[in-house]
């Protein structure tokens, strides 16, 4: 019971579709999230996979109280999100952070890296004074593999992978309990993706973070997550331990998704994969 950090119950988010400019009439609703229930256990990595429009990002935004749900409940450490207002909500926001997909558009190009990473301190009144703040930021930069000497550089002076590290450092600044990463590597070059995935795993080990990873790449999710939820048309169609889900997918949609991964068949059926293994094993 208490090992659940987040409990989501029958969560619904409908976006109204309106017609007319001055007198907007509601003519329907997009059921982005349509009755979703799941728990996030403390310290685990939960994956949410699905195709675009399945509601995975909306679910993430609801979890972080960035959107108001149409109905349903979200409890963080046993307390309903909607019951929190003002200072209490602000305190909650310290505990949950987000890492965004696009490291190019999620960093303010006019600010230095130091002030981007240190911004959460200013917002929450932590590490007051220039010296203290600088020290805290330098520590964060080191933690995510950035050189603290780059404190005064601007985002455009960094590569995509480094920018994503800046995003990770900013998310870590307030020592959150929960990090939601929405497609954290899909905008990065292949050779850089592993750097960020390894960084997230290392940070999780070191800091005991709880991670919710939203992605469309089934191989990435399998690699990172303990449990995986598959979303389709606003609903969770299957939620299982990662091993179980990938070995014995129950729902036809999960099977279709797994079958669609390119190259899965080509790799496994290619003769030399087995021949090279036979040379090492026998």
């Amino acid at each position: 019971m208490t090992d659940n950090l987040v409990e989501v119950g029958d969560l619904v988010k409908h976006f109204p579709i309106t017609r007319g400019v001055v007198f907007q009439r509601r003519i329907g609703a997009v059921r982005a999230v349509d009755g979703v229930s799941f728990d996030v256990r403390r310290g685990e990595t939960l994956g949410i996979v699905g195709e675009s429009g399945c509601g995975k990002s909306t679910t993430a935004r609801l979890m972080l109280a960035l959107l108001e749900p149409t109905s349903g409940t979200i409890a963080f450490e046993g307390e309903d999100l909607r019951a929190r207002k003002g200072e209490r909500l602000k305190a909650l926001r310290r505990d949950m952070q987000m890492i965004f997909q696009d490291p190019y558009s999620s960093l303010n190009p006019r600010k230095t890296v130091g002030s981007i990473i240190g911004e959460p301190f200013a917002v929450h009144g932590l590490h007051k004074g220039e010296g203290a703040r600088r020290r805290a930021v330098a520590e964060l930069m080191e933690r995510v593999g950035l050189s603290p000497e780059h404190y005064n550089r601007h985002p455009h002076e960094f590569s995509g992978g480094q920018r994503q590290r800046i995003g990770v450092a900013r998310a870590l600044a307030l020592e959150p309990k929960l990090i939601v990463a929405d497609e954290p590597v899909s905008a990065l070059d292949v050779s850089i993706q592993a750097q960020i995935l390894n960084l997230l795993r290392q940070l999780q080990r070191e800091l005991g973070l709880t991670l919710v990873l939203i992605a469309h790449d089934l191989a990435v999710v399998r690699h990172m997550c303990d449990r995986v939820a598959v979303m389709h048309l606003g609903k969770i169609v299957e939620l299982a331990d990662a091993d179980e889900l990938y070995r014995h997918p129950r729902h036809p949609y999960t099977r279709a998704l797994l079958a669609a991964v390119p190259g899965a068949a080509a790799y496994s059926s290619s003769p030399s994969t087995s021949s090279s293994s036979s040379s090492s094993s026998s």
Binding site: E51, D189, V190, S191, A219, A260, S276, S280
Partner: protein
């Protein structure tokens, strides 16, 4: 590379762009071959030069700031020195290209059918009705349901997958012998991606056209191509049959790529081995071997000597641009691949 007639041959292609900061050497001596009816996958990260090389085939990189040297022969005819009018006949006619983002490759104001008709009439003399009939046929060929109705729809009325199908239909309009697909499925969902890849494979079979597929996704090339070329910093660093590249790669960069992506056919929590550093700047490419700043097996000489694309010893066609001795490369890859294979059980 499979004994068949070669239709596209690129030799020592160099493409640079003059900028305020200096010359960006986007392609630095790339050599590639495509067999008639064959499928070549070019794998590389952004900035590897794969797109620039293929755009240059179609003469689309020409401009006042571009410096192009080397040879591109399509069916024996030189395209680097070709006149613009000659190129126009080839482009969209005998060689067609599709792009990553089907959203921005179509004109939003015109109906899909009209855009197809335009592509047809650019290369063939035919009446409007005949062209329209052919447009419907093409949409049916690429698997668009109810093509007769859909031909009058606007691009925004199509889904992402359908738009990419329509783009492919447009590319096929003049029965090209070669289709260049630049990251054709990157913007699409997995299930749609699988459909488009199936479609490309089917069309290649049915129409006997050659395919060049540019991608950063090794899974995609594994599924649809016969040969693979790996590009890095404007050079081809390794090329050979699909089996050779995926199962017996000899270049450290290819190893890095293969080991840094999570794969569904590998043990779940297998450690990913990222490639250190980031891709080099093409304003000042590294001396010696272009990969040396990121290579874990770098030796002193590799910083000075520039490796050639040499055949790897063995029965299969497989070229590698690496200064390590072949025996060392093979031992290293065996060592890298072994524990993973053992753990798969």
């Amino acid at each position: 590379m499979s004994g068949k007639r070669t239709i596209l041959e690129i030799e020592d292609l160099r493409v640079g762009f003059r900028t305020q900061d200096g010359l960006v050497q986007a392609v630095r001596g790339a050599s590639l071959e495509v067999a008639a009816g064959g499928a070549l996958g070019i794998v590389g990260e952004s900035g590897s030069g794969k797109s620039v090389a293929m755009l240059t085939v179609l003469g689309l990189t020409r401009g006042p700031t571009a410096e192009i040297a080397g040879e591109i022969r399509f069916e024996g005819r030189d395209l680097v020195g070709a006149r613009e009018s000659e190129l126009r006949a080839v482009r969209g006619g005998r060689i067609a290209m599709i792009f990553q983002d089907p959203q921005s490759s179509m004109h939003p104001f015109y109906r899909v059918g009209r855009q197809l008709v335009e592509a047809l009439k650019a290369h063939q003399t035919m009446t409007r009705t005949a062209a329209r009939e052919r447009a419907v046929e093409l949409l049916a060929l690429v698997g668009i349901p109810e093509p007769r109705r859909r031909v009058d729809a606007y691009p925004h009325e199509y889904s992402g997958g359908m738009r990419q199908r329509a783009m492919i239909a447009m590319a096929l309009a003049n029965d090209p012998e070669l289709l260049i697909a630049d990251e054709p499925t990157t913007a699409l969902d997995v299930t749609v991606q699988a459909q488009i890849l199936d479609l490309l494979a089917r069309l290649r079979e049915e129409l006997g056209m050659a395919l060049v597929l540019l991608t950063h996704d090794l899974g995609v090339v594994a599924q649809v191509t016969d040969d693979i070329a790996v590009m890095y910093a404007g050079e081809v660093v390794e090329r050979g049959s699909r089996e050779a590249i995926l199962n017996a790669p000899e270049h450290p960069y290819t190893w890095g790529l293969l080991r840094s992506i999570p794969r569904l056919d590998r043990p779940r929590r297998e450690e990913l081995v990222p490639i250190a550093g980031s891709p080099p700047s093409l304003l000042a490419p590294p001396s010696g071997c272009a990969f040396h700043p990121r290579c874990p097996y770098v030796r002193e000489a590799h910083r000075r000597v520039h490796p050639q694309l040499d055949p790897a010893p063995g029965p299969v066609v497989h070229d590698v641009r690496c200064l390590l001795p072949a025996a060392t490369r093979r031992r290293l890859w065996r060592e890298l691949a072994a524990p993973a294979e053992g753990g798969a059980r």
